[in-house]
């Protein structure tokens, strides 16, 4: 069987395993083993991919395989990867692995929690390997719906409201997306011939421009909802702050990337002419996302809200860069997806761990934590520095590429937008440093905090996994960016 299909099968086997075991401890172990294997498989895929490229394989997609499914509608289960998707797969497996360890102390209905979490990851993996729009859409929805249960049962705060809001908004996005996909499908053979959902096949034809004008907004906005496109981002702060730790990690870290990934892999790649025509509208919206998200983060007092707004800002940057339609900016966009995925997962993991100790997420109720929980404190500082773009960590590489590429755009409008968006770097620095100062430095605010214990082994494992990724990308970005650059060529060629 194709190694990519194992990415879907291993989670399903893990779920079966969880159903078979008896108690909570075994559940944890089965989940950890399953996701550990998944991590290994993901990196095996990365190495296979790199080796294939080294041996001179220049296919657009590699490791492909295809099974006929609904024959009369020409729907296939087609999988294949390029550099961008293997990078996303590696990211996902890292975050899921870290997420399992971050929820090691989950109490209530443990089995159900891990089953939903792993089911969600199945959807994400399936999405990244799919080359057929139908299967891609199917996996996309599989990834969204377990969120409702996960937030609703194990969340905190106004969890029922947040869960419903998040689910309905995301499914609303997928409803728009569905219409967009129909439009693509029925225009996939403008010269006659067979209609298809296959991305590679559709990319070879030019969808009539009238159809593109109609269906590009549907598709782009459909994905954009998941990528927190202003003004459809409002599910994100509520959803992320109510979700349990591992779910926030997975959702902000990986699921939001589905939006960015789909936006260029489907919407822009298949409908480049309309994308070029309408980019300006979405540039305005994403610029607002970037700046507004950062300002939003400044005024929040709840750690999770701060991070959720910062996610809006950073994910806005992904869409912003994608719309610039040049190689540098788009490379930056993909690196940003990965960098933000790791960094925000790290943030949410830390927030969960800090909350588990202090039982509050309000920054003004905490202070001086660095003295009592130094490991978590240092990890928080690293995450913060990555977020504000310190050289040597992943955030710098991503933002450097994005803004460099964006400013390359010859038109004044785009350059002005870039200048406005760049200001978010400063604002980011403000809210990150403010939190670090209040939360970690200074005197210990509350005597209860004195006796807090530092990170346990499983927490350290979770954090170190993510930090390794962040530092690796920051120190040696060339491997990743060359992986991405090669794969961007067909997309860029189509866009120009």
């Amino acid at each position: 069987m194709n190694i990519l299909t194992w990415l879907v099968i291993i989670p399903l086997l893990t779920i079966t395993g969880i159903l078979l075991v008896k108690d909570a401890r075994q559940t944890k172990i089965v989940s950890a083993i399953g996701m550990g294997i998944q991590l290994i498989v993901a990196f095996v895929i990365v190495f296979m991919y790199v080796n294939l490229r080294k041996s001179g394989n220049t296919d657009e997609m590699v490791l492909m395989s295809s099974f006929e499914w609904f024959k009369s509608l020409n729907i296939y289960y087609t999988v294949g990867v390029d550099g961008i998707s293997v990078a996303m797969i590696a990211l996902t497996s890292l975050v899921v692995f870290a997420g399992v360890f971050a929820s090691w102390e989950m109490e209530d209905l443990k089995k159900e929690f891990f089953i939903s979490l792993i089911l969600l990851s199945t959807g994400v993996f399936g999405f990244f390997i799919s080359l057929d729009l139908f299967t891609m859409f199917l996996f996309y929805e599989v990834a969204v719906i377990p969120m409702y249960i996960l937030i609703g049962i194990w969340g905190s705060g106004p969890k029922e409201y947040s869960a419903m809001k998040l689910t309905l908004m995301l499914m609303g996005g997928s409803a728009l997306l569905m219409v967009g996909l129909f439009g693509i499908y029925f225009n996939s053979a403008p010269d006659g011939g067979e209609l298809t959902f296959n991305i590679l096949e559709i990319s070879k034809v030019t969808i009539p421009i009238e159809a593109q004008r109609w269906f590009f907004p549907f598709t782009f906005v459909g994905f954009g909802v998941l990528g927190a496109l202003f003004p459809l981002h409002t599910w994100s702060p509520d959803g992320h702050s109510s979700a349990p730790t591992a779910v926030s990690m997975l959702h902000a870290g990986v699921l939001m990337k589905l939006g960015g990934y789909g936006a260029f892999r489907v919407a822009m790649f298949l409908m480049p002419e309309a994308a070029a025509e309408m980019a300006w509208i979405f540039i305005i919206l994403t610029t607002i996302s970037v700046v507004y998200g950062a300002f939003g983060a400044i005024v929040q007092k709840d750690l999770k809200y701060i991070n959720a707004y910062s996610s809006v800002s950073h994910c806005g940057m992904v869409l912003f860069a994608v719309l610039m339609m040049n190689k540098t900016a788009m490379t930056g966009a993909v690196i940003q997806m990965i960098s933000h995925g790791l960094m925000t997962a790290l943030f949410f993991a830390l927030i969960g761990m800090i909350y588990g100790r202090t039982h509050t997420r309000m920054i003004n109720e905490m202070g001086g934590l660095m003295k009592v929980i130094p490991f978590l404190g240092v990890a928080y500082v690293i995450a913060g520095l990555a977020s504000l773009g310190l050289p040597g960590l992943s955030g710098f590489v991503a933002e450097m590429n994005i803004f460099f590429g964006a400013f390359e755009h010859p038109e004044t409008f785009y350059r002005v937008a870039t200048i406005i968006a760049v200001s978010s770097i400063v604002i980011t620095a403000v809210y990150i440093l403010r939190v670090v100062a209040i939360l970690l430095l200074g005197p210990i605010r509350d005597n209860h905090f004195v006796g807090l214990g530092d990170a346990k082994w499983y927490e350290k494992l979770s954090l170190v996994t993510l930090i390794t990724g962040i530092v690796y990308i920051g120190m040696a970005p060339l491997g990743l960016s060359s992986l991405i650059r090669e794969s961007l060529i067909p997309i860029i060629d189509k866009l120009l």
Partner: protein, 473 residues
């Protein structure tokens, strides 16, 4: 015509035999053995269902009044499956002391409606169609009033009979106009002589209104909620699934076979009615607290989705209508099955009573969740595939605005389906429904539904098979 050609009517014949057998068996069983009838009847009907799957002869009888084709056989088999599940689900309920003396009535009434539906689907002549539709409706009213000691049940029966009589009258009026123009009631002849004159259009509208009653399309839906709420749960599930499915089947057959000439007209009518049905059904479902009423309104909205397959007049449309009907049978019967089991064990029917159900009865809750997801069209369960293909069918003919409105409506629908999931999984209750064990037959009924919900979607072979038997205008 010889005796052998009657084999074409195999579905109806086997059903009639089963009907007579139960009638006779009732006479010859003693007072103490009355309960055994239900076991016999269920087994008998399982055999009837199985016989339906044997390779069938096709052709027509009575000078074209009766027609059997691969399509009609398929539709009848789907209805048989639905009825079988309903019978299995009503097994425990029929064992109640107050139902003991009239178990056979339940089966007789149910089977006669099914015979009516079969004749209706196989009709090649409007009179045959009318006979079938009446045979399918009048016993249903008696069934709705089956709990005769409860006012609501009797009320449901009366409401059903009155509104269906009215709708039959309207339908007949429409048919008489069409007869007046074409001079025939045979489908092929009507189709050949039909033209787009105003009288035909008027006749068609009346015909549409009559069918709208049967399928409970807005604005002909007002009887639905009260009847569904008042009738016994199992009758409600039969009404909402099998009866509605049969109406959808014959409606699409007649639209495609008899009215292709005025397809421009019915496209417009269906466009408006579909949007109204989906939207209004959804909006009413939002605020329902009684599970039966809730499912009644959700099933109105679902009927609207069927119309998306009608509108294009394409082969894919008919395929997806049949495919979706099959999926809908499994999903809705799973939902009604859970409601019926809980009503049977605890007498509770309100959504608030379902709070915290997962912690006491996880199996039932998961079944209900799958049913809700399937009705809402969430992958990987079958409803997703059904809805997706219905939308594809409508989009194939370029009805993108309709598809967009329908797709956005699925979000409203998702909200109320999630409310049920929320009640069961998220809400806590001080007095949740106590943990209980379901009977074997209740489990069997739900297990069939779950298998159907999970498998039907992925089974692309099934979809292709249905497609091969479907046709467009």
């Amino acid at each position: 015509m010889n005796l052998e050609s009657f084999i074409i009517m195999r579905h109806e014949l086997v059903l009639t035999l089963a009907f007579i057998f139960i009638l006779v068996a009732e006479v010859f069983t003693g007072e103490r053995n009355k309960e055994k009838i239900k076991g016999i009847a269920v087994v008998l009907f399982a055999i009837v269902t199985a016989v339906g799957f044997l390779p069938a002869a096709t052709g027509s009888l009575f000078g074209g009044m009766y027609q059997a084709s691969g399509t009609t056989t398929l539709m009848k088999n789907i209805l048989n499956i639905g009825t079988l599940i309903v019978l299995i689900q009503s097994y425990t309920w029929l064992g109640r002391p107050e139902n003991r003396d009239r178990i056979h009535e339940y089966f007789l009434l149910l089977l006669s409606t099914l015979i009516g539906m079969n004749f209706m689907i196989s009709s090649g002549h409007f009179l045959m169609f009318y006979l079938g539709i009446e045979l399918a409706t009048i016993p249903l009213a008696a069934l709705a009033a089956y709990d005769r000691y409860q006012n609501r049940s009797a009320e449901a029966g009366i409401k059903l009979i009155l509104s269906s009589t009215l709708s039959s009258g309207i339908l007949l009026f429409g048919l008489s106009m069409i007869y007046g123009v074409t001079g025939s009631l045979y489908y092929p002849e009507v189709a050949a002589k039909l033209s787009s004159v105003p009288l035909v259009v008027l006749g068609f509208i009346f015909f549409f209104a009559g069918m709208g009653f049967k399928m409970s399309l807005v604005p002909f839906h007002l009887w639905t909620a009260d009847v569904y709420e008042g009738a016994p749960v199992n009758v409600t599930s039969y009404l909402s699934v099998v009866s509605k499915g049969a109406a959808a089947f014959i409606f699409i057959i007649i639209l495609f076979n008899v009215f292709p000439v005025i397809s421009v007209t019915w496209e417009k009518v269906i466009w408006v009615i579909a949007i109204m049905t989906i939207t209004i059904g959804n909006l009413f479902a939002l605020r329902q607290k009684n599970m039966k009423r809730f499912l009644a309104f959700s099933s109105i909205a679902q009927a609207g989705f069927f119309l998306l397959g009608f509108i294009g007049g394409n082969q894919l449309g008919m395929t997806t209508v049949i495919y979706y009907a099959l999926i809908y049978i499994f999903s809705n019967l799973a939902a009604f099955g859970v409601v019926s089991v809980i009503a049977e064990k605890t007498g509770k029917e309100s959504m608030d009573d379902y709070d915290g159900l997962y912690r006491t009865n996880p199996g039932l809750s998961i079944t209900m969740m799958l049913a809700m997801f399937s009705l809402a069209g969430i992958p990987p369960v079958a409803g997703f595939f059904g809805k997706f293909f219905l939308f594809v069918a409508a989009a194939e003919k370029g009805f993108y605005v309709l598809v967009t409105i329908a797709v956005l409506n699925t979000i409203i629908a998702l909200y109320y389906y999630l409310l049920v999931v929320k009640a069961m999984f998220i809400n806590r209750s001080d007095a949740p429904i106590a943990s209980f064990k379901s009977d074997f037959m209740q489990k069997l009924g739900l297990a069939i539904c779950i298998a159907g919900i999970v498998v039907t979607g992925f089974a692309s072979g099934l979809f292709e098979m249905i497609r091969n038997l479907s046709y467009g205008i």
